[in-house]
Amino acid sequence: MNTPEILCRADGLAKHVSGPGGRLTILHGLSLRVAAGEAVAIVGASGSGKSTLLGLLAGLDAPSGGEVELCGTRLSTLDEDGRAALRGGRVGFVFQNFQLLPTLTALENVSLPLELAAAGEQTAARGNGGVRPDTGMQGADATAVAREALERVGLSARAGHYPRQLSGGEQQRVAIARAFAPGPRILFADEPTGNLDLATGQRIIDLLFALRADAGAALVLVTHDEALAARCDRRLGMRDGHLEVLP
């Protein structure tokens, strides 16, 4: 039996910021591995550093120490644009506050990553280390793919609506469709139910897990909700910038 591919690997990851009261350490050199198709929950109190860790793993921010490897590429070897290109099509996100673009309809929000990938491909010659999305998506297909993704979250009837015309739960479903549309290999979710009521949150999580299973994507789920964490393959606890394995 060969070991499963490691999609995301962090070694000795540290993050310090300088605040008014001097240097503040948010993450104290922690390490972590996420294998393909695996679901990992990171639980911890508010302010314990979960979002900071997520940002570092996804290459949204640079660590103060240590190294992150995402989809087989060491992030420290890439510049900002290289990291963006690496994420394009391979990494999906779901946020607590949805982060839909208010000027785009639901359908357009979902097709945006596909369109960006198509446009980025043509400018890719401009030095991002030959990294290109392996979705193989063509710009012309974007709308069809997006429509299908919307259908899978049960919102095809609301395709032409703007985010402000949707409820919070519906907005989060659009965000989930957006995250899955390009066929990502790994998904980062930061408290996806944080802004939703209990029942809606439950349905959103069901949907997230169902789509993940279909796509076979890995999931890194940040939450302070123990019940939610229990649905993942593994649970890690975050306390004061340290990770510990939870039963």
């Binding site: 963006a84 506050n97 785009l104 357009e108 446009a119 043509q122 400018t123 999305p133």
Partner: protein, 843 residues
């Protein structure tokens, strides 16, 4: 957007950019910016189209004053190459020749000014003739025929002859069978004393009067399409011999030039004001757009868009948007000037010249420069928004130094203004005024925010809410006050220009402005003429002595015509001056340097001195204190210049370039001159006057007066019309000011309402905040409107200016009330939503 085109290299970013642009547009995000941009471009284009057309019309009408669009005036024969060059450009050409001579009728002789004209004369305007002094004027059917001379009525009188008399001119004999009632280009030398005799050019050789040695003035008149005339002027200018100069209507009549200059200045002022105010609206709207795009950029970077792609997408999107909005603006501007042309249709005889294409380029260029200056730098900078912002809301776009962004915008604005202005003095003064106003508004905004913070800590309840609202959002509050202030400033400036400046302009030429000049009044006729005018209830504007003198020296310099490069200066130096003397300064003159000689309570006669009109002083290089020498009736008269005067040439009063003290000139041989207003209904008095004072020359400036008045009236219409754009821009900038804080407010009010504040409390808080902002912005704007009005009136338009107390009442109270209400309502409507929706919308 077919998939077939997708193979083109780098087409995808274009398609995505345009798609995003379409979506932005549809979502309403771009309306404010589009409105600001369209308005700016429309105003600039309309004014461009219109100024262009109106200037051409004015030029055409001004052409009547020299019977041509352009003339070459020369003391030597004009080489035929000039006429050929004009004809080759498709221009009409005519020639005239003038010289002094003596006519003989029976035993009487009289000095005359002979003018020989060809078949084409006049190219602009018309000759009008009378069969008899009492007969009606008729347009001349053609040039004077063979053996025919047209003469000024005065000539027949002094010769004791009747129309149809035979007069000898040199070796030829002519029949004086028509009287000259109106000669279009007579204006060029209003005050020549010898009566006119006009004959045909072909009759000239028979007189034997013109030889190589005679003193003759040659004129080549040209007329035709403006571009061809300009082309000819450019060609001719460097090739003219030293003895010749170019003349156009502006130069021929200072009255006309002043009116045209003011009209185009007013139009430019209107356009520049619109540009400035709309520029502020563009800046505010851009900022809002950038704020709104920040989250979108963070998300897109997070979704894998590299910076260079975003940069490209933003640039393409903004430029396409700018181009489209500019085109729309051009269209609107073109429609606008059509409306304007319709308005003026009854003034302009015949069709206005067609609009030229150039304003379109200026319009589009302006739109793109404005957008590039105000919106592009912050938008491009957005590509650097950290993607981490999707997780941490506090991370804003990397703040490029405010100085950098401000500099880009200011440079763009200055560029546009200089490009647009065509009047550098107006441009920089206005620019300086606005920069000062913006600085004052920003400072005021900052102080107000600071005070509001202090006050909020000491007050309670709703006041605290309103005041703290200001202090909580310093950037938005300062922007808002600046926006309000600029909007009000535009409106007040509009009022100042409309109510005060335009009226002053109109009043320079009141209903009863003199339309007739009487010259050549002999000393013994002076009192009788004054009595005659008084008996007929005609208000003479005073009878002035006029003495002919030749300027022979300025300080140590002797004056020869060749001393001047400027052909106008040369002609003036060669020509005799009409000098006058006076004790008191004429009411429409003002001293701009030195002192006038008769101060209050002064009794002793002043020592000999001259006062010189500033324009001629500059042309001839005369400075205060220079000693002028004139040759008057064979004697030298010399005195220092002790004052320079500014003269309202377009007042149509009698005015002199050089005035001396009575002691200096009163003993010299003088004739007298006066001007008066004769209403059309009393036209019948003219023959009576001419019979009573036959040796006097009556000059009808009614046509010139009508032209100048037409320019003023239509100029005012045009300026008012263009100000509609300014008005719209002013309202827009205020709207943008209200919008500036809306997003922040939404979130804030959501919080306040969840904390239990009721609608009434929120409403009153808003009212307090907006009214305070309105009052302060209004005060600042009033101060600047007043100063700007004063500077414009005094320094740029040479018009009198009186502070207008209403400005302050409307400016301060009006703006407090208007902004208080509009701001409160505009904001409140957007805020009347359930707290949850407000919270969610802000997230």
């Amino acid at each position: 957007m077919s998939a077939g085109k997708a193979r083109m290299p780098a087409a995808a970013p274009w398609r995505l950019a345009l798609r995003l642009l379409r979506r932005d547009w549809r979502s309403g995000e771009l309306y404010l910016l589009a409105a600001a941009l369209v308005l700016t471009v429309a105003a600039i284009t309309a004014v461009g189209f219109f100024t262009d057309r109106i200037e051409r019309t004015m030029q055409r009408q001004g052409g009547e004053l020299i019977a041509a669009d352009l003339a070459i005036d020369s003391s030597r024969p004009i080489p035929p190459s000039f006429a050929d060059a004009a004809a080759a450009r498709g221009l009409e050409v005519a020639r005239t020749l003038t010289f002094r001579s003596v006519v003989l009728a029976g035993d009487d002789t009289q000095l005359v000014q002979v003018k020989a004209v060809d078949d084409a004369y006049p190219l602009r305007g018309e000759m009008r003739l009378k069969a008899d002094i009492d007969a009606a004027e008729q347009p001349a059917p053609g040039p004077p025929g063979d053996g025919v001379a047209w003469v000024e009525p005065r000539l027949l009188y002094v010769l004791g002859a009747d129309p149809g008399a035979r007069i000898d001119l040199g070796e030829a004999t002519f029949t004086a069978d028509r009287l000259i009632a109106y000669e279009p280009d007579r204006g060029g030398n209003f005050f020549q004393i010898a009566p006119r005799v006009m004959i045909h050019m072909d009759a000239l050789p028979a007189t034997g009067l013109v030889t190589a040695a005679s003193r003759v003035r040659h004129r080549l008149l040209v007329a035709g399409p403006r571009d061809a005339v300009a082309d000819f002027a450019a060609w001719a200018e460097p090739r003219l011999p030293a003895s010749a100069g170019l003349i156009d209507a502006r130069e021929a009549r200072p009255e006309f030039a002043t009116a045209v200059d003011r009209a185009s200045r007013f139009l430019h002022l209107a356009a520049l004001t619109t540009l400035l105010v709309a520029g502020a609206a563009i800046a505010l709207a851009s900022r809002r757009l950038v704020d709104r795009q920040t989250d979108a950029v963070a998300v897109m970077r997070c979704l894998g868009a590299p910076r260079h792609l975003l940069t490209r997408i933003f640039a393409i999107r903004l430029l396409s948007f700018g181009l489209l909005a500019s085109l729309a603006g051009c269209l609107l501007g073109w429609l606008g000037q059509r409306g304007l042309a319709l308005l003026l249709a009854d003034w302009v005889e015949g069709p206005l010249p067609a609009a030229s294409i150039q304003p379109v380029f200026v319009g589009i260029g302006t739109g793109l420069v404005a957008l590039a200056g105000f919106a592009l730098p912050p938008l491009l900078q957005l590509a650097d928004v950290p993607p981490l912002r999707v997780l941490r809301r506090d991370l804003g776009p990397p703040r490029v130094s405010v100085a950098f962004a401000g500099l880009g915008a200011a440079a763009a604005l200055a560029l546009m203004i200089l490009w647009q202005a065509g009047d550098v003095e107006l441009a920089w003064k206005l620019l300086l005024g606005v920069v000062a106003a913006v600085a004052a508004l920003v400072t005021l905004g900052a102080v107000m925010v600071w005070l509001a913070g202090l006050a909020a800590a000491r007050t309670r309840g709703i006041w605290r809410l309103g005041l703290a609202g200001l202090a909580r959002r310093p950037a938005a509050a300062i922007l808002q006050i600046t926006g309000f202030g600029l909007g009000i400033l535009a409106l007040l400036l509009l009022a100042v220009v409309r109510v005060d400046l335009l009226r002053s302009w109109q009043e320079t030429l009141p209903e009863g402005a003199p339309n007739r000049f009487l010259i050549n009044i002999q000393p013994h006729e002076r009192d009788a003429l004054a009595d005659w005018l008084a008996d007929h209830d005609i208000d003479g504007a005073g009878i002035f002595p006029m003495i002919r003198g030749r300027l022979t020296g300025i300080g140590a310099r002797d004056i020869e015509p060749d001393d001047y490069e400027d052909p106008r200066a040369e002609r003036l130096a060669a020509r005799e001056f009409n000098l006058s003397y006076a004790t008191a300064l004429q009411a429409d003159n003002s001293i701009i340097a030195g002192r006038w000689w008769s101060g209050a309570g002064q009794t002793a006669p002043a020592p000999g001195q001259f006062s010189v009109e500033e324009g001629i002083a500059e042309t001839l290089g005369i400075r205060l204190g220079d000693r002028l020498r004139f040759q008057v009736a064979g004697q030298t008269v010399s005195a220092p210049v002790t004052s320079l005067r500014q003269v309202q040439w377009d007042s149509f009063n009698v005015n002199f370039f050089v005035i001396g003290t009575p002691g200096l000139l009163a003993e010299q041989p003088a004739t007298y001159i006066t001007s008066f207003y004769l209403p059309a209904s009393r036209e019948a008095l003219v023959p009576e006057l001419l019979r009573a004072f036959p040796s006097v020359t009556l000059i009808d400036v009614g046509a010139l007066l009508a032209q100048v008045r037409g320019i003023i009236e239509q100029g005012i219409h045009a300026v008012e019309y263009v100000f509609l754009f300014t008005l719209a821009a002013g309202l827009l900038v205020m709207y943008a000011g209200i919008q500036a804080s809306l997003a922040v407010r939404r979130a804030e009010h959501g919080v306040l309402r969840t904390l239990g504040a009721n609608r009434r409390q929120l409403l009153r808080g808003l009212l307090v905040e907006f009214t305070a902002a309105g009052l302060l912005a209004g005060l600042t704007a009033s101060i600047f409107a007043q100063i700007t009005g004063f500077v414009l009136a005094r320094q740029l338009f040479d018009l009198p200016f009186a502070p207008n107390p209403w400005l302050w009442v409307f400016g301060v109270l009006g703006s407090g009330a208007a902004i208080g209400l509009a701001g409160t309502l505009g904001t409140y409507r957007a805020l009347v939503r359930p707290p949850l929706a407000a919270l969610r919308g802000a997230g």
